[in-house]
């Protein structure tokens, strides 16, 4: 008896229109990539939601740990000179 627990999980990304990025829309189980793509089409694009589908094995995604959030992202907070509003440009220069 095969352990059917191993039908793996895939993340589904849909690109709604030309010019837009693929966006995560959900996940599903499928034995292989072809099945995953077929199922993604059936489940997530029944009403013209997309022109392109990506499926990626969930196990292949490397994610940051929510517990590391502070050390990951805090350093960006004090670098206000990375934002345009940090720089003083006289009003008479006009829009820049």
């Amino acid at each position: 008896m095969i352990n059917t627990q191993e039908i793996q999980l895939w993340e589904v990304f849909i690109r709604p229109r030309n010019g837009l990025a693929h966006r995560h829309c959900g996940s599903l189980h499928a034995a292989d990539a072809e099945m995953a793509l077929q199922a993604a089409r059936d489940v997530y694009t029944r009403r013209g939601e997309g022109l392109s589908v990506w499926v990626i094995p969930s196990a292949q995604i490397v994610a940051s740990d929510p517990q590391d959030r502070d050390q990951m992202f805090d350093p960006a907070d004090d670098k206000i000179y990375r934002h345009p509003s940090f720089y003083d440009i006289p009003d008479d220069v006009g829009h820049m």
Binding site: M1, I2, T4, Q5, E6, I7, L9, C25, G26, S27, L28, H29, A30, A31, D32, M35, V43, R46, R47
Partner: protein, 292 residues
């Protein structure tokens, strides 16, 4: 994440997923007997949507560390609950209209606030679900209009379906405030944003005028418009019936679980074959590369 919060969500999202899947059975029962091709296509699409809703919800529950297989096993062993409404039979075509109008209508009332609940994967699943539900309710009400404006027999059929589904639909919002076991904690956790009685009242206020528009009557002698409160007052709900159905004594509890078990057991070879096929293909791709 606090353990109790996780457990509550697993229970609620799991039950919700099971409800979508079991909910396919009463309506699936009428697909081959739909009166026209237009109705058949709509019903087929609706039932297919419900399967999708089940999938979105199972996926949301899986992010909390329970597997699809465990949830399925809970359902087919009878340990997991699902919405009691699906334990009632669909006796006539008018039941399909009434279910779309009232049962999906009640589901929408419950689901819209969940789009803003505190657990992101559940909230996102609900947004997709709510987008799709509105067609379900409209196709149901359209069936009811057609019947209500049809022959005397058709109108009787619509009235009979409304008589049978009205009270169970009101029960879909769960026990009255104060008797609901999980409500207070869920409100604190921002999983539940309105109480059972609040949602029930909203549903009644929305659907009574729709019933009147159909020229049908509601099976509740106590139903009256309360001018002071700007809402309908309604009669006593038979909570004994509700609890009996929850505890497994509804008309079709056993059949529903048996149907899910049959589908799961008879699908076992398909799941196995898919895995073996995937493995063989992976090996076929891997072998020539290894030889190089």
């Amino acid at each position: 994440m606090p353990l109790a919060y996780r457990k509550t969500l697993i229970r609620q999202i799991g039950q919700h997923a099971h409800s979508e899947i079991v909910g396919m059975l009463p309506e699936g029962n009428w697909i081959t007997r739909a009166p026209t091709l237009r109705r058949k296509a709509a019903l087929l699409a609706k039932v297919q949507d419900e399967g999708g809703h089940g999938l979105y919800l199972y996926s949301a529950a899986e992010t909390l560390g329970i597997s699809r297989k465990e949830m399925t096993e809970e359902l087919i062993s009878g340990r997991a609950k699902y919405s009691s409404i699906f334990n009632y039979p669909t006796q006539t075509w008018a039941d399909i209209g009434t279910i779309g109008w009232l049962v999906d209508g009640a589901a929408i009332m419950n689901q819209v606030p969940l789009c803003r609940c505190s657990y992101g994967p559940y909230a996102r699943a609900m947004i997709r679900v709510c987008k799709e539900e509105s067609f379900h309710q409209r196709q149901g009400y359209e069936i009811m209009i057609t019947l209500a404006e049809g022959s005397a027999e058709q109108k009787d059929m619509a009235q009979d379906a409304l008589n049978r589904w009205w009270w169970p639909s009101l029960m879909m919002f769960g026990p009255p405030d104060g008797e609901s076991m999980h409500s207070d904690q869920s409100a604190l956790w921002k999983i539940k944003r309105f109480s059972n009685d609040e949602l029930r009242q909203k549903f009644i206020d929305a659907t009574v005028p729709q019933a009147l528009r159909l020229g049908l009557t509601l099976p509740d002698d106590a139903l009256t418009w309360n001018e002071v409160e700007c809402r309908y007052d309604y009669g006593e709900i038979d909570w004994n019936e509700f609890w009996a159905v929850v505890k497994g004594h509804g008309p079709l509890n056993k059949d529903r679980v048996a149907a899910r078990k049959k589908a799961w057991d008879e699908g076992a070879w398909v799941r196995e074959a898919a895995i073996v096929h995937a493995r063989k293909r992976a090996e076929r791709v891997a072998t020539p590369m290894a030889a190089e």
